[in-house]
Symmetry: D2
Subunit: 334 residues, 4 copies
């Protein structure tokens, strides 16, 4: 971290600052120029509150050289993390497709979809039981009943299950869940992240709608700071001015994240685009760009889905997509 | 709500849709054009899942005519709501300045600031005890101890207190708090909103960093749907590409919200700009534009604030600001 | 186009509107509901000023059913357009890589790069002679001299040349240029677009930094309205809040545009990401997603490039990229 | 400017860089830390291509200390610039309201509006003759005829006239125009800016829809670099995700620009919000925030305006607004 002081600062104030920095354990490298004094901090600056320093009266700007995340940082963990998801591995060359409906609606629906996607090669089953909806009047999911139906589908097919949590108090209900998803709107629900850090469950952390990749990594850091290193990152589209798509899928997030972190990166082209006709091309592009996995919405009857039917594939479309993925996976850039 | 069907749809499918809509209680007005069929819904469409209808195979687009929020809607509640905040009123011509430090740091600090801002005319005291921070390694607030110090400052000065909640489980600690703030990052933490809807506490709901005003009103609706109508809305700046300011304060939100809703609207120019030198001009502009109140960060020693010192005013600067507000308040556009 | 009138409008005003609409040649389909009157326009609404109608006192909203672009619309031209670029074809299954330096710097540089990229399979040569730069003090290109050097490289290698125009007055200098590029900042320089519509040159139109795909198509429409149908669209990244990349490359633009228009779509992963290490993965992803071509920055000595060296590949890196493209091209989703 | 070099760089490469920097006239202050070497540049860095240096292989990052604009910079020109507009002054305490219709439509219209707004206190008349429109099929203005009608209105009322230019070739037609406007979409049409820099006309430069204030100032710098210092800056709303307003008016731009530059700053609340009902509150807020002037759309018959009627005030509404401005002008924060 480099601290650039303002012109003509009081020597006493500088002394106060340097004493304080040394007091909290940093080595300092001070360089006085004609107009500006620069202080370089030597030590672990990920634990420093950069905003606090930037706000000091005598400081012009502060610039990080190291990234502010540490447990998630590839610099301190060169190899890809391989994360266990109820017996299925992801990361480090293990590519997985997670498929299933937006919402769990009935036993027939969820078991039927689970069997279909398994037959096409999906490695995990997704399905929402607790649904974050903009309107309090919209369908909010089957809750406990939905989790039970997911367990039933897991019992029948053997597929590990992935589903979203919206509140730490619900954790006891998620015992049979293999991968707990944190949705985009909760990416910076720090209290929830802290609680998940206290578990050893695998967490699928989705990027917020207007969040940077550094903020995504800092949220992963919240979970890992509690001792839970089982984190999967998910790009699911960001908010832009474009209207033909629901969100803009940021596929460059894949190689950027792969450089910055050892955690697996999966892509959700269903939410990321909002339209079934865009899912296959974006899924294949994500695979070639080096993703560790995909999350795909599949519904046995998209027009009658209780949520997000517009972006769901039929089992037949999913089967075709899964075959396409196999064609390009050998050429993925990693 | 108007539903526009696609060209050449199957008559049976249309029948299915109209039967279903009538079954859930809507009157229908159907108009067949040369190419397109249009269905108008008559009834309370705020309780309809617009996305679900839009996702049907036979539907081209759906357009709301009514707003999707109801309890917050001025159409059904013409007069400004006047909200009680521990004995102090806001809204309907009652203008309030809420002032205080970003974080509660010590008894001396919070009581000192409270006395100073009261003397200058502030009607409420703000101060953070639970702080949402991007990094798990940054200062997160004094927690319970912070709430106790706020209570002490309230006891000494009589000012009602405003402070942020980050998790519903903490509610028992907030008994002595007069106004509970929901921060920008939790604006769509729907489970928290639902829990707050079960209380009768006054809630100050901040707009999310990349959220629309309709989304803000839908989040207010979550609280009100639980029966708690004591909601104050807060514009605190949105994320844009501009870098000279921390956020972009959207002052047009004031007259837009005042037209759409009867709830009071306050503005936070401190977070909204991120720089002390911008606070006075934006506070005065917000007042003239018709805001019901302001939230201003004031710290007795900004350069040593543990958080957001860059944007805090000194008590002297706040006093000058408060005088400026009095000058323009009579000319506010309302 | 559907016009929704406000509640309780004056019958005379409605009559005025319908007379005017019929007068300019539309058939009307009018439907009166309990509260709302809806007017459907029958005819070519791409030539109607939607904003003008929306601004009328009696109009609640206007909704297009048809897209506002016509010449570029795939509905009226089902087959892919195949565009000639100095003897090389693009579109309709003809995939092309356009490669070369950001700026033309010297004969040795441009001829050297041209020979290298041709050997690796590039179909066209790019290089900037007129450079749009944010600062008036930055290097602005070699201008006429740069165009001469491009012609020399074309003479030596036979590669058609692609270069940017910034002002219609420069057109006479572009006689030997095969494809004239309109940069992102000029996407809505409508006077320039009109002038280019008067030529029969092939135009490569880049999407603006914060423009929607509909706006891009409307700008193409400006060129085509003048009679010049030789237009290639280019996705080159949009401005978002992300900072690890210079822009956010929107690869979903490929399948969206391919559905909306018959014009070829190329992708620029060099400007779209701003970093050489991201170019290969994004180029391969764009290919799989169905792009008709790529634009790649290649420089013989990236660290000494006078512009954008950070994102340029070496000829060796480009050769590897070109081989990767061949691997995945057969699996492209189209 | 501070250049931070990467870890373990080759001494020869550093030598090359420092020699080059000294060769182009900079004094250097070099500081070697344990891991990092920092080079401080002494001299006029506004003329340095920061991107070029950042792209060098051995450079980690580059940080400006000085702003990249010079002629527009308040540091080198402490006093407010006072700009002449056909005899009317703006800036340095001279507050002006520019009012008139979006488009010039007829002599009766433009002269009538001119007389009305003059009577209410407007200092200049605006009206569009060349209109930038997204669609080539929308009304594009009366062109030469429109300019003639503006001159006629000027002759009758004595009000200086403000109107938009879209192409440098049209300059001869603008001889009688007092203030030439550059629209948001042309803010980075650098060739046009350079041509305007060669004139001594007063230029009203509007901020682009997704541009930062630094980019706006760099575009002003293009004009001033040619020797034309008669530049007025205009905030007219930026593109955000909000949909209740057409754009988001960034009023914090006023105090930010007033700190950074000596040029006058005016605000356009009509385009900035897109709705007549928002204009008065935003105009008054802009005034209190310290703007040097306002641009307000006024039309004698808004519902029949050929363009942007939705956001136009009637002469009566404008008169009321002008009175409101007088009430708050004495309290403006400057």
């Amino acid at each position: 971290m480099i601290i650039l002081l303002k012109d003509k600062v009081n020597e006493n104030q500088v002394k106060n600052l340097t004493n304080w920095l040394e007091g909290i354990g940093f080595g300092l490298h001070i360089s006085k120029g004609q107009n500006h004094t620069i202080i370089g901090l030597i030590g672990d600056t990920s634990r420093v509150d950069m905003d606090l320093i930037a706000s000091l009266d005598i400081v012009e700007t502060v610039k990080r050289i190291q990234e502010p995340f540490k447990s998630a940082n590839r610099k301190f963990h060169e190899d890809d993390s391989v994360i266990d998801c109820g017996g299925v591995k992801i990361g480090g060359g293990n590519f997985q497709i997670i498929a299933g409906p937006c919402s769990v609606e009935s036993e027939e629906q969820i078991v039927g979809v689970a069997q279909a996607v398994k037959a096409s090669g999906a490695g995990m089953l997704r399905g929402g039981a607790f649904k974050p909806r903009t309107s309090p009047y919209a369908f909010q999911g089957l809750h406990e009943k939905g989790l039970e139906l997911l367990s039933e589908a897991k019992r029948v097919t053997g597929l590990p299950i992935v589903t979203e949590i919206m509140e730490a108090n619900h954790l006891p209900l998620f015992e049979d869940v293999d991968v707990i998803q944190v949705g985009a709107r909760n990416m910076q629900n720090f209290e929830l992240l802290k609680e998940l850090g206290q578990t050893r469950k695998t967490i699928l952390l989705k990027r917020g709608l207007a969040n940077t990749l550094e903020e995504l990594l800092m949220s992963a850091e919240y979970i890992m700071a509690g001792g839970n290193n089982n984190v999967i990152l998910c790009e699911r589209g960001i908010r832009t001015f474009e209207t033909y798509t629901r969100n803009t899928l940021d596929l460059s997030a894949i190689p950027v994240l792969r450089r910055l972190t050892h955690l697996p990166v999966v892509v959700d082209p269903s939410h990321g685009t909002g339209h079934a006709y865009l899912v296959k091309s974006m899924a294949m592009a994500a695979t070639v760009a080096g993703a560790d996995g995909l999350i795909i919405e599949v519904h046995n009857d998209p027009p009658h889905a209780l949520c997000d039917g517009k972006q769901s594939l039929t089992p037949e479309q999913f089967d075709e997509l899964a075959k396409g993925i196999q064609n390009v996976l050998p050429f993925a850039v990693r």
